[in-house]
Symmetry: C2
Subunit: 352 residues, 2 copies
Amino acid sequence: MKGLSSYTEAIRPLDRDLMARASLKQDSLTKPKGSLGKLEDLSIRLAGIYGTLSPSIARKVVFTMAADHGVTEEGVSAYPSEVTMQMVLNFAGGGAAINVLAKCVGAEVRVVDMGVGADVTWHDCILSRKVAMGTKNMCKGPAMSSEEATQSVLTGAELADQAIDEGANAIAVGDMGIGNTTAASAITAVVTGRSVPSVTGRGTGVDDAALSMKVRAIERAIEVNAPDSADGLDVLSKIGGFEIGGIAGAILGAASRGVPVFIDGFVSSSAALVAAALAPACKDYIIASHLSVEPGHSIVLEHLGLEPLLDLRMRLGEGTGAALAFSIADAACRIMNDMATFEGAGVSRSDK
Amino acid sequence: MKGLSSYTEAIRPLDRDLMARASLKQDSLTKPKGSLGKLEDLSIRLAGIYGTLSPSIARKVVFTMAADHGVTEEGVSAYPSEVTMQMVLNFAGGGAAINVLAKCVGAEVRVVDMGVGADVTWHDCILSRKVAMGTKNMCKGPAMSSEEATQSVLTGAELADQAIDEGANAIAVGDMGIGNTTAASAITAVVTGRSVPSVTGRGTGVDDAALSMKVRAIERAIEVNAPDSADGLDVLSKIGGFEIGGIAGAILGAASRGVPVFIDGFVSSSAALVAAALAPACKDYIIASHLSVEPGHSIVLEHLGLEPLLDLRMRLGEGTGAALAFSIADAACRIMNDMATFEGAGVSRSDK
């Protein structure tokens, strides 16, 4: 296994000169300047990421990373912990939302056990990368050791690296883990400096009483662990999760290879906070797929300087929003590659 | 040609009982209740439109309707009128944004000359339904006669009807016509009762001076013609356009056959105002694809009681937003049809 620095140090800045030329190319196409809005912006960014005026998303892989969370013993979730394992088997069987949506856009789903609290190694379709049988309860001490934090990030980076070796040129990251919006809210509060209540939502759908318990649990976890907000691995180990570490790693792995990485909702975006703390340059490679209903999500995206493509009132995770965003990104690339120019089509330009 | 009432009177209310069952079906799928947001709402509406718990968008047709506008002599557009004809040829040649985006989603584009101010009949790929060589300048009198208004609506309805006869089960409507946001703003002001400046934007990109001229031209057109806001055909004939009439007709034609119709941006939404004035029941069949940058668009959608799926800062027309929305609607249907249930996948339900 390579070291973390071999990923973080390999991330190059985008090609700004090429992006300026991509912008001119957009303006030469038969439509009023800027009239395709975010599609144009995205195509220009993808041009800068891929280093070509003809960006194309050819092979898409969605990593759905799963793990359990010790903090569930504080009553923070509407679902019991065994649902993580049950849903992992559902992913492997092809019956979950991410399977359906990935199929719509021709993306492959890779299900990764990063730390599910049950043995699922018997299933062929699950990539077994278990760091441990779920995190410890972060209200009582660190969720994981610093070695486990490093291992989870390196595992994710290696998975992205391998997928790219196999031909993937667009990566999406999604999560599954009962209790993981609790970890995501804790990370968000610490890294952005915002109050815990302002970044904590209902997750899979807790009631008011459980929401209060969730806020108190997060405040206790932060107090007990005092994570260093500038140290991504410290934050991850104390109040994170194994799937969050894996996703942070996949972001770094994709960015290190010059491949765009589509983050999904609140949990994968909190992993992006960890990744950006480890290597700020990775932000240029991150596409914010959609805005989740979770109140902390817009705060995370603002902190990262990212604007979401979609806002469909979704809050499922798994990579579902990222799968939908793949189709928007495909469309953005094809606009840049396939539209006629004013000159080519004999269309008059604006006279204003 | 059938009469207008044969379309308007054929529009049935949605099957509310079936929609209630579709909602229960969504709740049985392996995801927290409501966690797919607008995808769930859309799938339930499509179930009600199609009258089945397994809605499916099988064959998609985009009508891109084009016409010229006499009001352009008031200096309301950033582009010269001949661009309408040039763009129609670009559509026919496959080089425009709508061609590229429709191809992404497997939709067929049908380009309709509803009233382009030039002869384009020589091109095989253009459906020639020209009502006249562009409207008259609405600042000086009615844009068209009431017979022309009826003819444009009936033409659109018949086109949708034929497409459905040929197997289409989802229709999208888009526009092309230099000067047509001026007509759309006029219609919006009259039908919604809002002030002209509040519903008038920069269209393809006019500067401040031209925007002022555009506002004054619309105010003059409304004053000169005094359209009856409750009479869709009166509004259309006095301050509308031939492509707007065609789109209104296509909406009525689709609704009369129980087929969803995806409206695009500001211009096709103003046509929906005309359609809804003629037959309020058609609103149930209209899917609002996206929110345009044009300031009048959100006002139109609010008036129609519709929520847009996408917000990508687009303002191109042609049906481009509707083509993108087709992929979201496809995904919504597949979620309802292909996901596993809690029972089937052995996943525990929420304990709250």
